[in-house]
């Protein structure tokens, strides 16, 4: 982590105590990032294209059953298992600590997808189509991926780029809260908070220091950029 030269280290905090499992983030992500539409059959085959999924777990025994939601997106690991295995640098680490995916480099070995412990990488098994009028809402900022390439959450890198360009034009750094990915922007419960972890005063950095924090599969040593909060006096389990 020390090797980064950028003043930014983008990260996210997901407060599981706030998450209601409404799925707004999933829809927002799909609309923002030209994520393909998949029908029931494709999802049933395990070929859905969601960059962000909400895992639902039932806890306890009847009648005392509770549901827990776990939104899982690319963790933008600082020691990402997907990066070294890609033979063509389609999966690479950018200076802001993001886990980039260059679609037109990808040859589709799917090695990154196998090596991702979070299983957040999705592969274009199909050549996806957007039936009219949905094709009209495709974002011009982002490639529409062809079949045979791997894709995944980018933390809405197109928004980050725009915010950085504006800030550079005005000769300053991106302000806290100035940029957020579609999922965080949409979350009605404000369970998802995005920001610069390199700035100790940012909201995300303060939340990430919470005693409620944990990370997914921390034992693997992947050093994710996503922190989860859980517990907080209202014990769910």
């Amino acid at each position: 982590m020390g090797k980064l030269t950028s003043p930014y280290r983008w990260g996210m905090v997901i407060d599981l105590d706030r998450c209601t499992g409404c799925g707004a983030c999933v829809v927002a992500c799909q609309a923002e990032n030209n994520v393909a539409l998949c029908d029931k059959q494709q999802i049933g085959e395990g070929r859905g294209m969601h960059w962000l999924r909400i895992e639902r777990f039932w806890v306890g025994t009847y009648p005392d059953v509770r549901v827990r939601f776990l939104p899982v997106l690319c963790q933008h690991c600082h020691d990402a298992p997907c990066e070294p295995v890609c033979p063509v640098y389609a999966s690479y680490h950018n200076p802001d600590g993001l886990n980039g995916q260059v679609y037109n480099r990808c040859v589709g070995t799917r090695y990154c997808g196998n090596n991702c412990p979070y299983a957040v990488r999705v592969f274009n098994f199909y050549q996806h189509e957007w039936p009219p009028p949905l094709a009209d809402q495709l974002s011009p900022d982002i490639t529409v991926r062809s079949r045979g390439v791997m894709e995944k959450c980018s933390f809405c890198i197109q928004r980050i780029r725009r915010a950085k360009e504006e800030a550079t034009g005005e000769g300053r750094l991106v302000r806290d809260g100035e940029v957020q990915p579609a999922c965080a922007q949409t979350c009605p419960a404000e369970a998802l908070v995005f920001g610069n972890l390199a700035d100790p005063h940012s909201r995300v950095a303060r939340l990430a220091r919470s005693p409620r924090r944990f990370q997914l599969l921390e034992q693997l040593g992947t050093h994710p950029s996503v922190y989860y909060l859980k517990g907080g006096g209202r014990e769910h389990v």
Binding site: G46, P84, V107, Y111, N115, Y118, A119, F125, V149
Partner: protein, 455 residues
Amino acid sequence: MSDIPVTAKSAGQLNGELLSSLRPPSRRWYLLVLLLGAVVAWGLFAFAWQLTHGMYVTGKNRPVMWGFYITGFVFWVGLSHSGTMVSAILRLSQANWRRPILRAAEAMTVFCIAVAGLFPLIHLGRNWTFFYMMPYPNQRGLWPNFRSPLLWDMTAITAYIIGSSLFLYLGLLPDLALARDRASGWRQRVYGVLAMGWRGSAHEWSVYRKASILMAALIIPVAISVHSIVAWDFAVTVVPGWHSTIFPPYFVIGAILSGVAAVITLMIVIRKAFQLEDYLTPLHFDNMGKLLLVISLLWTYAYFVEVQTTWYAHEPIEWEVFSFMAGTYTVPLLLMLIGNALLPIVTMCFQRLRRSIAVMLVVSLLVNVGMFIERFLIIVPSLAHKNMPFVWGSYAPSWVEISVNLAAVAGFTLLFTLFAKFFPIVAVTDVRELEVLQAEVPLGRAKLPAIVGEE
């Protein structure tokens, strides 16, 4: 090694018999080639189908993103160890019984590795961009990532294809000259070019001998590195069930096991097809059987160690992968254990069974069925039950993947059949070398002690 009746026949007769595979093809040969060609054509159609439709025509999904293609890849790389094993190791250890089979084994290596090399390309999501993985100055301004085990794979396989082809070609030289001298017309010209002006002078033989020993010694580390690297494809990942330090040696042992079994199968087929009963005797099968027994014991040990560590540690996710594998794929698992361990170990202990051609055929085929299952059981269950239980899945191969794998078998057989028709499939020189290496040379009625031996 007097079991080969080299002295009972004249030199011309011997050459004639050993080169019998070069005689004009029969109708049955054409039929076989046609049949194999049809299967290959079907496989090509299946691949074209995948190419035009997308990867959804395979059985792959998230999380099982590798399936039958990579299984086939590892399997064929394993088979390719036959030639190196039989030819190089036995050449260096001066085992005379290797002689009649070494050509077939070396040719098998070349064709197996060629077939294996196709699988990673077939399995790409965008097959048409395969050249992105090659290191050459390009307009993308991008060098491939040599941290990726896939690049190690490509390097190792390229080295192995080149090395084993040279090994095969070097051994062929004197036999090509022999074929040239016996052929006429265009065949003579082709063999003449390929024999590169071999005259059989003492100097040529001395250089040839040195080169063969050198190649034999050099090809062994290459062969071992190839399968270690294939194992690293799995071992260097963080996938539970793949991330295991025993994989490289375990894979090399598995490769040699399937290689030895494949050579036995091949010996039986060649013996029957080219009437080489005098040269491939039950004694040869006896020796190969012993080799199979040793390798099978080694494989069983390696497999036991791998499972034992998983069981003892009982790390939840590792154990989950193992239980899922044993629970979902019980029948293949048992087949694998029978084919790779139980059957060869029990049968190969008995000389009568080792010398029975029928038993050897059944055992050698089942070993390779077991080895294919072994690769499948390493690759798929680990992916199906990775760290995140929410995205656990399963996998079943589609007709496309099965067709391509069948076409690989047919394609290999086709290449081999063609090779056997156009090139001497029994190493005439190596077999006839025994004449001069005998302890006693007959001279008229007397027998004189020989003055030459293998260096």
